[in-house]
């Protein structure tokens, strides 16, 4: 099981990074979403894996670590907020510039 979860984390991160290296906003945002999945799973994994040990007092003999879960829960919600913000930025960028490339055009003004 550990190997499976580690593989999932690695694959999700790789897919996320590959998509983030694309040149258009939409795949970059999807890539970020994939990377968030990977990171959330990674943080969750820091509590180690356990079956039938939900941290609900009185329902099991031993409990898994609740702290990473609480942190990941808030992380999931925050990543939604972040995705929403960059999504509207991407839409705004496309509507204002007429294209959705993430890189500066060569003839665009050099940042000074």
């Amino acid at each position: 099981m550990e190997a499976l979860l580690a593989t999932i984390i690695g694959v999700l991160a790789a897919v996320g990074i590959y998509l983030m290296l694309r040149l258009r906003t939409f795949p970059v945002i999807l890539g970020l979403t994939f990377l968030s999945y990977a990171v959330n799973l990674f943080l969750f994994a820091s509590g180690r894996l356990a079956l039938n040990a939900a941290p609900i007092i009185g329902t099991a003999e031993r409990y898994t670590d609740p702290l990473p879960q609480a942190l990941v829960l808030t992380a999931i919600v925050i990543s939604f907020g972040m995705t929403a913000v960059i999504m509207i930025m991407a839409v705004g960028g496309y509507l204002q510039a007429g294209h959705d490339r993430v890189d500066l055009d060569r003839d665009d003004e050099e940042p000074t």
Binding site: M1, A6, Y18, L30, A54, P55, I57, L73, G81, T83
Partner: protein, 942 residues
């Protein structure tokens, strides 16, 4: 406490001007002045104790492990400086109200000014040298903002940058010096360090520490060879120049030397470095000042010269000389601030500061002339004004110096005084005396009292201290000098020391010589203009410009505006560092017992991996890419559930649904396909980087999963306390709403702000004409004839109350079983979103009785209320309480304040999600789509 409050007040008050500027410029100035006045009154309330010789202290532990504590102390020296900072600050605030043009953003100005004031107060009140360093750097930063206040002026920006580079650089050196000093003394508290004179001076590190600390002080106080930044900082508005260069910024270096005087002075090294730097700076500054035509430049170099004078006195190392230095600090602050302010008035009224275009102003501006005359005569050292007193005492001290030969220092000091007389008289003679002219850029006349009131107060001080020195300033100078030197000082200030005093004759020589110099000025000026001389600014530019060019080259090499390129470079760097770290240490497999895989999990994982791996290959069709993303996200939920995290599973499902909906909505306004742009090698490179990064993260996860934690988890506490302490059996929920409630509180605020950003951005987009045109031209996708299918509409409407019931259920049980405010908020949000989806934006929006902004506001408010409620019981913020109630037909149930907090979370999540999606869908209003007001209308036949 009140000491820390005095230092904190200007920082807190810096928020005020930004608000009060909406009520007008006067309200803005008054509120700023009120902040300073309150701080001044607090200081005054502590003054009697300090003047009795006590040291007022406030100790707050901040980072005791680092020796960094927010310890403050107030002794005579601190009282003098804090009084100057706040007192002159008050006058500057008054002056600036009338000086700044209506086009200048006044709120910003006062905010910067208060920030700077707070930083200065921090320096003079700190009892901890690390804390002092923090404030020291803050003065560099806030003075940067003030000097560059007129952002549209290139010389303003250059001057600000130069001041920051020089004083900031000196500050860095000083950090090193202070750390050495702290190491020698064994403490970073000034009150301890000041008692360690013998240990410090005996240490082999004394000289390096001394040089480093002096580098900080000399750069700040514009001592040679760092004097050049000060005149360039004159591009600032005049109130800033008056404040920074009379009483505050440049005096910070002087203050530091005075503060450290008991432990650093008295050695030969100190004497040579400090007094001769001061002496040379005094002569150099005075000489340059004489030949400057710009009123402010003249005053700037005269400031350099007077700072040199004070530095020299501190360098002598005798308590008497130090006391004279303190006295001159007071006098210089009063007359120099008055002079800067009058220069500002002249500039304001005539629109020039050029002495060659001025003259004859005494008849046109009698009030300004009177103030300028008093202040410049004091600067020249004419009796009975206060400048005379301290200058004569300075000459008296200089005579006593016998190294390298008797009389050399005395002679040089007399020459300095002579030059000072000459430029002071020149300021007066070329600016105000002489015949009336007809070619002023603007017809000058005295300004309104608001502008001359502040310098008039200072001029009055100049006269009063001059006439009654012991009554007006003797007590505070004595207290400050006693605190500085550690020996009881009782200065006897008087104008007449008898004919035998050499200082009298030196003074007379200086005044006579000064008049001669002024008389022969045209000839001297020709000579000066003809002699080549090194320009410090050119040397500085020669040093800085190649550095800046190299930095620019490096930056553009790393970041040429291509996001993907810089991301790839960053990733490659991280990968290289990781590889190095991995191969540098031996690897051992972990020993934690692993879980046996079962078929269902493997199948789940396989589908998830398949969907994830398919995405890079299919991602050019964006709809398919989005669906695959949704599949992956949803499949993560059962993984969470399987590995004992039911709360995460619920949240993941909810968030995944709203995320996919959001992206679908956004995709409406974006191209539906991603063109194939990168060539195959580039794609292979990206795939390589991504694969390596994935391999790294996956292996790290595996290594972590197969090992037991290095330290026992702190969760044992949470598990044990969940029921008994927080009153809930769901440990994850109790952590969120109770143990780490503060985190959650911050998080819902972030979420709310994110939603507001989205709303604000979509508003700007809607108002933008170009965007509207582009929206109207967006290719409409082929839609089915049925925009709002009846089945879907009816189904979602039936679903709404049920979904709400589920939401309420999830919310209520959250404290004890999986669920809670986050999930409940998401369930509600999805139920509403379905209405939007099925029945259209207009129909649903017309029926929505609450505003999403208000919902977010209420959420944060309710959560805050739950936190503040604890105060009523004398408990810290967000302490929760609970009790059990038994109402007859119901079973016993629990009432917890954490539930109120969770309600805030719920409202905030609901409002934020709805606002984010509603904002995006509002863009559709401009696409030419017909609004639908009826329940379910049919799209016109195509």
């Amino acid at each position: 406490m009140s000491l820390a409050l005095i230092a904190a007040l200007p920082f807190l008050g810096a928020l005020l001007p930004g608000l009060t500027i909406r009520m007008g410029r006067t309200a803005c100035a008054v509120s700023t002045g009120a902040v300073t006045l309150v701080a001044l009154l607090l200081l005054a309330s502590l003054a009697p104790a300090v003047l009795r010789g006590e040291v007022v202290q406030t100790r707050i532990d901040w980072l005791p492990a680092l020796g960094l504590n927010a310890n403050f102390m107030l002794d005579g020296l601190g009282l003098l400086f804090a009084g100057l900072i706040l007192g002159i600050g008050l006058l500057i605030i008054l002056y600036a109200r009338f000086y700044l043009a209506t086009s200048d953003p006044m709120g910003q100005f006062y905010s910067y000014l208060l920030l700077f004031q707070g930083a200065m107060l921090g320096i003079v009140l700190s009892d901890n040298i690390l804390l002092l360093l923090v404030f020291w750097e803050l003065t560099s930063l806030s003075s940067f903002l003030l000097i560059g206040y007129w952002k549209h002026l290139p010389e303003g920006r250059r001057g600000a940058r130069m001041a920051l580079a020089v004083t900031g650089g000196g500050g860095l050196a000083m950090i090193a010096g202070m750390l050495i000093l702290g190491q020698i003394a064994g403490s970073y508290d000034l009150s301890v360090i000041l008692t360690q004179k013998t240990a410090i001076q005996a240490s082999p590190l004394y000289l390096p520490a001394l040089i480093l600390i002096l580098a900080g002080a000399f750069t700040k106080s514009a001592q040679f060879p760092f004097h050049f930044w000060l005149p360039h900082a004159m591009a600032a508005p005049t109130p800033v120049s008056a404040y920074l260069h009379s009483a505050t910024m440049v005096k910070a270096g002087i203050f530091l030397m005075a503060r450290m005087w008991p432990v650093l002075s008295g050695t030969f090294e100190w004497f040579v470095i400090v007094s001769f730097t001061g002496l040379f700076t005094m002569l150099l500054g005075a000489k340059i000042a004489l030949f400057k035509d710009d009123l402010k430049a003249l005053l700037a170099y005269s400031t350099v010269s007077h700072l040199g004078l004070i530095t020299m006195l501190l360098g002598f190392g005798t308590p008497e000389a130090a006391a004279v230095a303190i006295f001159h600090i007071v006098n210089h602050a009063s007359f120099k601030a008055a002079l800067f302010l009058t220069a500002g008035i002249v500039d304001h009224e005539t629109h020039t500061r050029d002495l060659s275009r001025l003259g004859g102003l005494r008849r046109l501006m009698p009030v300004t002339f009177a103030i300028a005359a008093i202040a410049s005569l004091s600067m020249a050292g004419i009796p009975p004004l206060n400048g005379f007193l301290s200058k004569e005492m300075m000459l008296g001290e200089a005579v006593h110096v016998a190294w390298p030969t008797p009389w050399l220092v005395g002679l040089a000091a007399t020459i300095g005084a002579l030059l000072s007389v000459a430029y002071s008289f020149r300021f007066l003679a070329h600016g105000f005396l002489g015949p009336l002219r007809s070619d002023y850029p603007r017809a000058p006349h005295d300004p309104a009292p608001g502008l001359w009131a502040a310098p008039a107060v200072l001029a009055a001080l100049v006269v009063l201290i001059g006439l009654f020195p012991n009554l007006m300033s003797g007590w505070i100078v004595d207290a400050a000098a006693t605190a500085t030197t550690g020996t009881a000082i009782l200065l006897h200030l008087s104008h007449w020391h008898g004919l035998a005093a050499p200082a009298l004759w030196m003074s007379l020589a200086a005044i006579g010589g000064g008049l001669v110099v002024l008389g022969t000025y045209p000839r001297l000026r020709r000579l000066w203009d003809a002699t080549p001389r090194p320009e410090a600014k050119r040397l500085y530019d020669g040093l800085i410009e190649p550095l800046a060019a190299d930095a620019r080259k490096l930056t553009s090499a790393l970041h040429n505006g291509s996001f993907s390129r810089s991301l790839a470079i960053g990733l490659a760097a991280i990968l290289a560092a990781t590889a190095y770290a991995f191969f540098a240490a031996p690897y051992q497999p972990g020993s934690r017992a692993i879980l046996a895989p079962d078929f269902v999990t493997l199948a789940l994982g396989a589908v998830l991996l398949l969907a994830a791996l398919a995405t890079p290959f299919l991602h050019r069709n964006r709809l398919i890419a989005l669906i695959l993303t949704g599949v992956v996200g949803l499949l993560i939920a059962p993984l969470f559930a399987l590995f004992s995290a039911p709360d995460l599973a619920l949240t993941q499902v909810g968030v995944e649904v709203v995320t996919v909906l959001l992206m679908l909505l956004a995709l409406n306004f974006l191209p539906k396909d991603t063109p194939a742009e990168s060539a195959v090698p580039r794609r292979l490179r990206d795939a390589g980087i991504a694969a390596l990064a994935g391999l790294g993260l996956g292996s790290l996860a595996y290594a972590m999963l197969t090992r037991a934690p290095a330290f026992p988890s702190i969760s044992a506490f949470h598990l044990a306390q969940s029921k008994s302490g927080a009153g809930g059996t769901n440990a994850v929920n109790t952590i969120i709403v109770d143990f780490r409630g503060y985190d959650t509180f911050g998080e819902i605020i972030v979420l709310g702000i994110a939603a507001l950003i989205i709303f604000a951005l979509s508003e700007t987009l809607l108002r933008n004409a170009a965007v509207s045109r582009r929206l109207a031209r967006l290719p409409r996708t082929v839609e089915s004839g049925d925009r709002h299918p009846v089945m879907f509409v009816v189904g979602t409407r039936l679903l709404l109350p049920m979904a709400m019931m589920v939401g309420v259920y999830i919310f209520l049980r959250g404290h004890n079983l999986p669920g809670g405010g986050f999930v409940a908020g998401l369930v509600f949000a999805i139920a509403y979103l379905l209405q939007y989806l099925a029945s259209g934006y207009d129909w649903s929006h017309a029926r929505q009785r609450f505003d999403q902004h208000v919902l977010i506001g209420w959420g944060v408010f309710v959560a805050a209320l739950a936190g503040v409620g604890a105060w009523a019981f004398g408990l810290p913020f967000l302490t929760s309480g609970y009790t059990y109630l038994h109402l007859p037909p119901l079973d016993e149930f629990e009432l917890a304040t954490a539930a109120i907090f969770d309600l805030g979370v719920f409202l905030c999540v609901l409002g934020a999600v709805l606002l984010a999606l509603a904002s995006l869908s509002r863009l559709a209003l401009k696409t030419g789509e017909r609004p639908n007001v009826a329940a379910h209308d049919l799209e016109e036949a195509r």
